[in-house]
C-alpha cells in the first residue's frame, strides 16, 4: 500500500496523476462505497454517487492542501455527495427528503441486493427516521466503525457533539424497533 503522502504528491504531479489515481481508487473504493451505500441504500444509487465522488476527488486533488489526511478529505466528499444526491432526488421528484428515504426503505423488501431479514429491515426503517446529519454520524460510527476522533476530523464537528448525536440516534432507533415489535 502506497503511503498517503506519496500518493498525494503523485496525484498532484501531471505525469504521475493517472497511475496514482488508479492506486487511490483501488485502495478506497470499497470503504467509500459502503459509506455511501449505508446512506442511499440502493446499489445503483450508491454506484452513481461513488463515481461522482471519485470524479470530484480527481478534479479537485490539486486544491487539496494537506490540512487534513487524504482519506479524511475523501470520506467528507463522499458524505457530502450522498446528502446532495438525496436532496436532488427529493427536488427532482417534488417530494420531501423523508419521502425519498421512506421510498428507498420500502424498496428494500423487494431489492435483490438486500439479503437482510425482518429485523434488519426494521433496523433500516429505524435508521431512515433519523435526520440526515444524525443518520450520517450513526452509519459511519456503527457500520464503518470510525472512532469519534476520526469522525470529528471527517465531519468537522466536535467529538462531544458527535457522541451526543450518536447516543440520541441509538436511543431513537431502539425505541422505534421496540414500538414496531409492540405493534406486531
Amino acid at each position: 500500500m502506497v503511503e498517503e503522502k506519496e500518493l498525494v504528491t503523485a496525484l498532484q504531479t501531471e505525469a504521475a496523476k493517472e497511475s496514482a489515481f488508479r492506486e487511490l481508487v483501488s485502495q478506497y473504493k470499497e470503504r467509500l462505497y459502503w459509506q455511501i451505500r449505508n446512506m442511499v441504500l440502493d446499489h445503483d444509487d450508491a454506484d452513481d454517487v461513488l463515481q461522482n465522488t471519485f470524479i470530484k476527488i480527481f478534479r479537485n486533488i490539486n486544491s487539496f492542501k494537506g490540512e487534513s489526511k487524504l482519506h479524511t478529505w475523501m470520506y467528507r466528499i463522499a458524505a457530502n455527495e450522498s446528502i446532495t444526491f438525496l436532496n436532488k432526488k427529493a427536488k427532482r421528484n417534488n417530494i420531501s427528503i423523508d419521502n425519498v428515504k421512506d421510498n428507498a426503505v420500502r424498496k428494500l423488501e423487494s431489492d435483490v441486493y438486500f439479503e437482510g431479514d425482518q429485523i434488519q429491515l426494521q433496523f433500516q426503517k429505524a435508521i431512515a427516521t433519523l435526520p440526515e446529519r444524525q443518520r450520517l454520524i450513526f452509519t459511519m460510527k456503527y457500520f464503518e466503525d470510525h472512532t469519534f476522533e476520526k469522525l470529528s476530523e471527517i465531519l468537522e464537528t466536535s467529538v462531544g457533539g458527535l457522541k451526543s448525536s450518536y447516543h440520541i440516534a441509538v436511543k431513537k432507533i431502539t425505541e422505534f424497533i421496540k414500538t414496531q415489535d409492540e405493534t406486531l
Binding site: 489515481f21 488508479r22 481508487v25 463515481q51 437482510g116 434488519q120 456503527y142 457522541k163 450518536y166 424497533i177
Partner: protein
C-alpha cells in the same frame, strides 16, 4: 481528600466521565441491534469498478460540444423574413386604417344627417343630380302597394292642393 493517596499519573480524555453514561447506555442498546446492514452487491462489482470510474472521469473531462440552436448562416435569412413581416404588417395596418377611417367618416355623416343637422332643401339636393341620374332612376322596379300610396296621399296632401290641381 486523603493527602497520602498515591497518584498514578494517568489522565483521562476531556469530558470522559461526563460522556461515560451516555456512551455506556448506547453500547448496551447496540447489543440488541443487528450487526450488519444486510446489503449485497452484484458479482464482481468491485473488480469492474476501476474501469467504470476511469471512464466516468475521462468523460467528465471532455468538453461538451455546444450545438448552437441558431446557426449563424441562417441569421441573415431570419433577419430578412423578420424585416418583411414587419414592413408587411405596417402596410397592412395602414390600409386597414384608411378603410377604418372611411367607415368612420361615413358613419359620422349618416349620424349627422339623421340628427337633422344637414339643412339641405330638396331643391338643393336636386342640384347635385343631373339629367342622366334622373334617367337612370329605375322607378318602375319599385313597387308600392296601393295601401301605401293611399296612406301617403292622405297624410301628405291637403285639400287645397287637390283643388288647385
Amino acid at each position: 481528600m486523603n493527602k497520602n493517596k498515591n497518584i498514578s499519573g494517568f489522565k483521562t480524555p476531556e469530558n470522559y466521565f461526563e460522556d461515560f453514561d451516555a456512551l455506556l447506555f448506547s453500547k448496551i442498546d447496540e447489543v440488541n441491534l443487528p450487526k450488519s446492514a444486510g446489503f449485497k452487491i452484484p458479482e464482481n462489482y468491485f473488480g469492474n469498478l476501476d474501469k467504470k470510474v476511469f471512464k466516468s472521469v475521462k468523460n467528465s473531462e471532455k468538453p461538451t460540444k455546444v450545438i448552437s440552436l441558431f446557426p449563424k448562416k441562417y441569421f441573415g435569412y431570419a433577419a430578412s423574413i423578420a424585416a418583411c413581416l414587419i414592413i408587411g404588417f405596417a402596410v397592412f395596418n395602414s390600409t386597414r386604417e384608411n378603410e377604418n377611417l372611411d367607415a368612420l367618416q361615413m358613419a359620422a355623416i349618416e349620424n349627422y344627417i339623421e340628427e337633422g343637422n344637414l339643412n339641405l332643401d330638396f331643391y338643393d339636393v336636386t342640384t347635385f343630380i343631373n339629367d342622366e341620374d334622373i334617367a337612370n332612376l329605375d322607378l318602375g322596379k319599385q313597387r308600392f302597394s296601393e295601401a301605401s300610396l293611399k296612406n301617403y296621399l292622405l297624410e301628405n296632401m291637403d285639400e287645397n292642393t287637390l283643388i288647385d290641381e
